[in-house]
Amino acid sequence: MSDALIVVVLLLVAGSATAAVAQRDPARQALVLSFLGVLLAALFTVLQAPDVGLSQLAVGSALTPLLIMLSVRKIRRRGRSEEEDG
């Protein structure tokens, strides 16, 4: 039973890792990465590592998406101000 759970979560993690790489737009990738972060936390819980799960939740659910989205916003803003310029 425990084994089935591990297999299910592992396959989901592998699937979402593939999806995260396949999304070529950084904003969409950030969405998949945040999903992957939460799923990894679930995998770590299943592998009996709650400490690592907490770490992954703290980082993956809000911090990494925020960093990526802020970078995306900065670059989009640059693009916009350059268009206005010339």
Partner: protein, 248 residues
């Protein structure tokens, strides 16, 4: 050129995949019962009255390793601060206040203290239950940014004197070093957990120096993340390049 690169990638990837699969088949089977290091680490943690073995490994048995991790973290934040500072050809533009729906704003302001307290709880119980300075620090720092999400950047800037957090970051790193050096002064080794009594098992003050090192890491991570996000937010929200100069 592009074709060549893809072929190179395919060949290299296939080779790496073959090697990895061969290595996987040779690894000890998943879920096996032989974990010599783990068993010894658990015994050592119990002998020092630390309920959370992972905290004991991080802040006692391998505290020196954590010092390395902490310096990487510190250096990475320093690098970000240098890379993202306001350059000469940039200026700050005050962002217009955001129009946030009222329930969202209320939720953010209500959850902010709850999340902060949770972060502190996770740090403080690091040596007992799952948690610790690394996790709790990130939670507490993220909680602060609910102010940006729920109100606007100006509100966040008012409760976030950046200088204080930069100082706290440096202070936390040096307090970790001082705690380590205290071991030498006490006549044992750097970062050896012999300074304080081990206390009663499964209470907040158990584990000798583990709670102190844990708290130092918590402070360091929290202020590091705040500083990091502050510079990213500055770049994304406030700093604009001067127009008409073009890129060099």
């Amino acid at each position: 050129m592009n074709r060549l690169r893809l072929w190179l990638l395919a060949v290299g990837g296939a080779g790496l995949a073959a090697l990895l699969v061969a290595a996987c088949l040779d690894l000890p089977g998943f879920g096996g019962s032989r974990h010599p290091y783990g068993d010894r680490a658990v015994r050592a943690a119990l002998s020092r009255h630390t309920a959370n073995t992972i905290a004991s490994v991080n802040f006692d048995q391998r505290a020196y390793d954590t010092l390395g991790e902490m310096s990487i973290l510190f250096a990475a934040v320093l690098g970000c601060v240098v890379l993202l500072r306001e350059a000469r050809d940039e200026h700050r533009a005050r962002p217009e206040p955001a129009d946030v729906a009222r329930p969202v704003r209320r939720y953010a302001l209500l959850v902010l203290p709850v999340a902060l307290v949770t972060g502190l709880y996770v740090i403080a119980h690091g040596q007992l239950s799952p948690g610790g300075g690394f996790q709790g620090g990130v939670v507490a720092a993220t909680a602060l940014h609910l102010l940006y999400l729920g109100a606007d950047y100006h509100a966040l800037e008012r409760v976030r004197p950046l200088g204080v957090y930069e100082t706290t970051d440096a202070l936390a790193v040096s307090s970790y070093l001082v705690l380590g050096a205290a071991g030498i002064l006490a006549g044992t080794a750097f970062l050896a957990n012999t300074l304080l009594p081990y206390g009663t098992f499964n209470t907040l003050s158990s584990g000798g120096t583990v709670p102190l090192l844990n708290a130092a890491i918590g402070m360091e991570v929290a202020s590091a993340v705040v500083v990091l996000l502050a510079h990213f937010l500055d770049q994304a929200v406030e700093i604009e390049e001067e127009h008409g100069r073009g890129t060099p």
